[in-house]
Amino acid sequence: MSQWLWLIPGAPLLGALIIVLLGGLLRRKYLAIVACCAAAAAFLAVLLAWLAGAASQPMQQTLYTWMTVGDWQPVIGFSLDRLALVMVSVVSGVGLLVHLYSIAFMAEETDQRRYYFFLNLFLAGMLLLVLADNLLLLYLSWELIGLCSYALIGFWHRKPLSANAGRKAFIVTRIGDASLALGIFLLFSQFQELSLTALFTSATAEWETGSQLAILTALLILGGAVGKSAQLPLQVWLPDAMAGPSPVSALLHAATIVTAGVYLIARTYPLFELAPQIQWLVTAIGALTIVYGASAALAQTDFKRILAYSTISQVGYMFLALGCGAYALALFHLTTHAFFKALLFLSAGAVIRASEDEHDIHNLGKLGGHPPLARWSFLIGAASLSGLPFITAGFYSKDAILATTWSAPAGPLLWAFAAFGALLTAIYIFRAYLLVFHGPGPRNSTASLPRSMALPLLVLALLSIVSGFIEFPEGWPGPHLWSAWLEAELGLAIFPSHTITYNLQIIASLLPLAGIGLAFILLRREQVGQPLPLENFLRTGWGFDAFYHATLIRAYLALARLLRAVDALLIQGMLTKMIHGYLAFAVICRQGMERGAIEKALAMMTRGFLAFAIICRQGVERGVLEDSIANLVAGLRFGHMRLSATQNGLLSRYALAVSAGVVFLLGYLLW
């Protein structure tokens, strides 16, 4: 199998090549099929790798040496260890599903050749990134996915918004890339080596923990990861990136570009372990981003933007885990997130597509008539995202991260952030869900999805539920397959003592439920317009709710009481105010941070940059340089004119000049 390792990124690459070279000969329909086949081939190759024992024994393949300059000998080579295996499985799997989904979703588009070319290339890039066994190849694929995201986000390039979004994504991530590149140079100049494994060996051998070089390196690499994964402060591109087609968003958010940063840190974790300060910085970034993303999502009205902020927030959890040293858990969350986020995006895409490109959740709610499958799969995704206890994959992965956070430095604080994020997550996603699917529009619809769209939704829905069961929470009975399997490569997460863990777990499992409840409340208040007490809302008679209350009252009495208590609190306005405050904060976040501070700072920077460029052009280029040339020319012209004036045709002047010459020459002799 290891000779065939190249097939994993190679198959989609080949697909892309076929599409770009022969695409003109194929009919539109076949383009999609070629692309899907390529993605499927990659997936199959991954499966084969599993079967061939990659899970137990890392695989290596070296194709050729890319460039040979002294010690600088990056190869085009792949290595497949467990970390990579997990990643390629997720990426190729989700990628395949997105491809399938695209068949129907993009069927109407005219420019499918470009779409499938970049989609395949994107997949290839991501797989290459995961498989790369040296930093330079990793950088190559790193850039490649940046490029493809640029092209795909800006797919509808006629809309300036779209094109701008693509460019923004490319440029912002490129800033991170430059940082990564510098990190690579630093490593190379220290160790004259680019291969990952060799680098880690020498780094751990030669650098002391906390040494300056290690910190610098880790910081530079972190810069790259932050850019790609849209973490604070480089998150600005991601919400705009929603301008692309939904499958692209799904791919982007679920499996590929945003997780690349996570993967990078997980891959280079030995370097981060050498720099505890930076590791803590990763944690802090993660924690802040969680709250930031979630709060921002709370105030969105654009369906996909909610999901986008949610991605930011969720990747924040992964960073949190990474910072705490729980690499395996980060990866776990990455995997589950890939499933449920892809599910959310795809079902949202289905909804939006069925509603003639309507993005506003209120309008979507008013339109109604969404395909039931989309609704159900969105619900499952939302549940998984909010981490509904026990039955969803999201619960297992997020809960573990929450638990492990406690034992990190400043753990309780981080935990508070994460937990608060979890609460908000549930609120915003269910708010969206309720608004869209339980809006005033006609509820039940018979509209069915095309098969190629339905299948991925079903698969992902299934995975969003069951994929969590392979790793039960710490201290619980049940399998702990994941962390055990990855222990050799990534180490084990540290958990606090069992009692604390249990307590934390209980709180964590309650948070989503509370969040869902709050979402309901919030929604009602929103629907009425102004803040209204919950009773009024209930009293307006929403049969559905009443029915729920009636059926579930016996089983969930305690819960109901709690709910009422919460209601009471709300009525007393405490929480209301808090929520309002928080909403305001979210708006400030959006307005202030997004459009305000960061956007403005970026805009200012851009403007300043442009102004500087113009000054350069006007001042230096036109002013100094052109002026000095012009002055020179004018001076020469002046000299010419003055001398030319002496050629006035007067005989005696000519004779005079001759005599002056004589006087001068003889004068020289005298002197």
Binding site: L636, R637, G639, H640, M641, L643, S644, T646, Q647, G649, L651, R653, Y654, A655, A657, V658, A660, G661, V662, F664, L665, L666, Y668, L669
Partner: protein, 467 residues
């Protein structure tokens, strides 16, 4: 007189008898056609050119003339160029009816003057040679007898006389300093009279500088270039100047070396101001002939850069440059003559617009000559400049070399300007007569020579190196 004397003098006699023959044919009762007169002139010029080949060198003629390889080379150049000028004149429209025995004989006499100048080793013979060169030119410049032509003639006559007075005064003072007019004898002047001799040389330098149009003795040049018919401009822009220059080289570099060394700073200054003033004056000049006059001022400046080095390399460089310079100017003015309008030369640059496209041979030749003037490889102009700058650098005159180099760059501007005008798009103009085959042949030969001397200068350098 011995037989060797006769052989050595044969070219001179041939020139004189050629002049007389032409004159006699001209007053022959039956009208002899201009064509046959031209043919006779050419025959005599070529014969005397052949005669120079029989010279046994080195040889001295009664301490007046010295016949060596250098004089042979340049005598040949003068004869052949004069033949070329006669050819150009034959079909030259503005003076069509005026080319008769007087014109041709005057050219022959002028050639004699140049030949005397390069061969003389006595100041008297040099002076007489200078005047034999000058006096025919007075008339030749004014040949068309229009107002501007006569104005040019008067200006040249007066100013050349003025300069000749300085030259002669210098000769007299040189005589006063040593009691001899022989250059070799002057070369061994003792220290006492050195100062007087220096004054004499400086005064002679004024006369020579005038002929060479060095700044500040240059002011006549543009006026006269403009006034004279193009073939005559070719004559005194190329070979006449070179004859004087060769005399200067013989005077300073070969015989009066000690004086030369004392005067090097002066040459330095003259070189610098000639280059700068020449190029500046040419920069925006609209009149092509005046422009070429200014450019030749600058070129003499470059030659002085080489001479100012005061070394053997400098001398060789100057000689090579002189040779190339003569060829380049001959070519350029041949083209100007070929492009002339029926009654006068084209003066304004605008009148040359697009001509290079319609007359490819002339256009390309003009291009080659101009690029050679500019000093671009692979033309001889480049090798000449290379040698000249090399000489300056070898002598440690880095500053001089840099000034020369910047001037060269400046000069590119106006040479390219001419070229662009020649090749720019313009409607076809009708009133140019198709250039004669003779002229075409001459410009082709000159261009080939320029390129040949640029690509394979070795042989010529070897010859010059033995002087």
């Amino acid at each position: 007189m011995r037989s060797t004397d006769l052989i050595s003098l044969a070219p001179f006699f041939l020139l004189i008898s050629g002049g007389l023959t032409v004159l006699m044919l001209g007053i022959w009762p039956q009208r002899v056609s201009t064509r046959s007169l031209t043919a006779v002139t050419m025959a005599f010029l070529l014969l005397s050119a052949v005669a120079t080949l029989f010279w046994k060198t080195p040889f001295e003629m009664s301490s007046m003339l010295v016949i060596d390889d250098m004089s042979r080379l340049f005598t040949l150049l003068f004869m052949l160029s004069a033949a070329a000028i006669v050819t150009i004149s034959y079909r030259y429209a503005p003076t069509r009816n005026e080319i008769r025995e007087e014109y041709l004989s005057l050219i022959l006499f002028a050639t004699l003057g140049m030949t005397m100048l390069v061969t003389s080793r006595n100041l008297v013979s040099a002076f007489v040679g200078l005047e034999i060169l000058a006096v025919p030119l007075y008339a030749l410049i004014a040949w068309k007898r229009e107002q501007s032509a006569i104005e040019g003639g008067i200006k040249y006559a007066v100013l050349a006389g003025f300069a000749a007075a300085f030259f002669l005064y210098g000769v007299a003072l040189a005589y006063a300093s040593a009691g001899t007019l022989d250059l070799v004898a002057l070369g061994s002047v003792t220290t006492d009279e050195r100062l007087l001799l220096s004054v004499a040389v400086i005064l002679m330098l004024v006369g020579i500088g005038f002929k060479l149009a060095l700044v500040p003795f240059h002011m006549w040049a543009p006026d006269i270039y403009q006034a004279a018919p193009a073939p005559i401009t070719a004559l005194f822009a190329s070979i006449a100047k070179i004859a004087v220059l060769m005399f200067l080289i013989r005077l300073l570099c070969l015989q009066l070396q000690h004086i030369w060394e004392a005067l090097l700073p002066l040459l330095w200054i003259l070189a610098v101001i000639s280059m700068i003033a020449g190029n500046l004056l040419a920069l925006h000049q609209q009149n092509l002939k005046r422009l070429l006059a200014y450019s030749s001022i600058a070129h003499l400046g470059y030659i002085l850069v080489a001479l100012a080095a005061g070394t053997a390399l400098g001398r060789d460089a100057a000689i090579y440059y002189a040779l190339t310079y003569a060829l380049m100017n001959l070519g350029v003015f041949a083209v100007v003559a070929a492009f002339s309008l029926p009654h006068q030369d084209r003066q304004d640059l605008k009148e040359y617009r697009g001509l290079g496209r319609h007359y490819p041979v002339l256009g390309i030749a003009m291009g080659v000559c101009l690029l050679a003037l500019a000093g671009l490889p692979p033309t001889a102009g480049f090798v000449a400049k290379l040698l000249a700058f090399g000489a300056a650098i070898e002598a440690g005159h880095i500053m001089l070399a840099i000034i020369a180099v910047i001037n060269t760059a400046l000069a590119f501007y106006y040479y390219l300007r001419i070229l662009v005008v020649l090749y720019s798009e313009e409607k076809r103009e009708q009133n140019v007569t198709q250039p004669s085959q003779g002229t075409s042949a001459i410009v082709v030969v000159v261009s080939l020579l320029l390129v040949g001397l640029g690509t394979f200068p070795e042989r010529m350098l070897m010859i010059i190196g033995t002087f």
